[in-house]
């Protein structure tokens, strides 16, 4: 059964799903040599730099590690706020 149904019914997700989720994260760390706290710091610094130049909404930003085949890529989706100066 799907995980969300399990959660809805207050059950633990199947152990295979937990294994897969945990492995996903640990493989990112292993492949990139980045710990999850380093990745968090990277995200925060990235936001800080971008925020210095453009107006962004920190809550709308998504920065995550993606797997494509055996390649890792850091994917950032940063919606820009409409510039107020030109209105």
């Amino acid at each position: 059964m799907s995980d969300w149904l399990d959660r809805l019914l207050g059950r633990q997700p199947k152990s295979a799903s937990s294994a897969k989720e945990r492995l996903k994260l640990v493989l990112i760390n292993d492949r990139t040599d980045l710990t999850s706290s380093e990745l968090e710091a990277l995200k925060n610094e990235l936001l800080e730099v971008i925020g210095r130049y453009i107006d962004i909404d920190p809550a709308a930003i998504r920065i995550e590690m993606m797997q494509e085949g055996r390649e890792q890529r850091l994917l950032a989706d940063i919606p820009l706020r409409a510039s107020r100066r030109h209105r």
């Binding site: 199947k14 295979a16 897969k20 945990r22 640990v26 493989l27 292993d30 492949r31 055996r70």
Partner: protein
């Protein structure tokens, strides 16, 4: 003749590397191929035992490398199969007795003699692993559907790519279809998604492996064993044949037999 050199590796120990090596070797030899397997696990000799050849060792890998005998003299011929040979590992030696270039030289000499050279790599990613990797044309990574085995397989696959020996092929060993169905074991698709590597075999968990290992008769010799069939299929895929992956849901015993008949009737 120019042999294909295939190294069987895993990172983690205990996932069935040696069993996989022995059974692929047996399956290839049963198909008429000339096969030499090399136990590269110096200090922890085991391939001889799995193949049932432990009583016939005179010379070993280190003897060959150090020039105490010729390769031919260290090749134990399996009497059950016409063209299966084993070069056993040394049991109580210094692990640095063999270098990657020794392995390359040895395999180059052997390449002219056989169709396949299978190298059983030790666990870990140190010297012994590098020795086993050095002469490889292809690397087969064995894993189990368990978190630590998958993680270590990923490290090894990465190293295989970094050494430009890739792409590695994956054997998913000891899969329990009942547990997968229950959601309590990583499914083959999950493992493949995580590792992003080409699958070359799924071997179901099977009591016959333990029984045949006890007797020193690799399970690939047992035509009735599911695991044995899986190893036969891996050997055929290595030879380039297109072999479909077996249906692991098939039930055993009378009920399974009845349901198969019912299904065949319904088709």
């Amino acid at each position: 003749m120019a042999a294909h050199v295939v190294t069987i590796s895993s990172g983690k120990g205990g996932v069935g590397k040696t069993t996989t090596t022995a059974n692929i070797a047996v399956a290839l030899a049963m198909g008429g191929q000339k096969v030499a397997c090399i136990d590269a696990d110096i200090g922890l000799r085991n391939l001889d035992l799995i193949l049932g050849l432990e009583n016939r060792i005179v010379y070993d890998l280190v003897d060959v490398v150090e020039g105490r005998c010729r390769i031919r003299q260290a090749m134990i011929r399996d009497k059950r199969l016409p063209e299966l040979y084993l070069i056993p590992s040394a049991q109580t030696r210094d692990k640095s007795a063999v270098s990657p270039s020794d392995m390359v030289r040895l395999c180059d000499e052997l390449r002219q003699e056989v169709d396949w050279i299978l190298i059983d790599s030790p666990a870990g990613i140190e010297r012994g692993f590098r020795n086993a990797m050095a002469p490889a044309d292809m690397v087969v990574v064995v894993t189990n559907p368990e978190v630590s085995a998958v993680r270590d397989a990923d490290r090894v696959i990465g190293l295989v790519e970094a050494e430009e020996k890739g792409p590695a092929r994956l054997v998913l060993n000891r899969l329990n279809p009942v547990m997968v169905k229950r959601g309590d074991m990583l499914a083959p698709d999950d493992v493949l998604e995580l590792l992003a590597v080409e699958l070359i075999g799924i071997v179901p968990e099977d009591d016959t492996v333990v029984v045949s290992t006890n007797r020193g008769q690799p399970v690939a010799m047992d035509a009735k064993s599911r695991a044995g069939q899986a190893f036969q299929n891996i050997a055929r895929r290595l030879k380039g044949e297109q072999v479909p992956f077996m249906d692991l849901d098939e039930k055993k015993g009378v009920l399974g037999w009845l349901s198969r008949i019912a299904r065949a009737g319904g088709d």
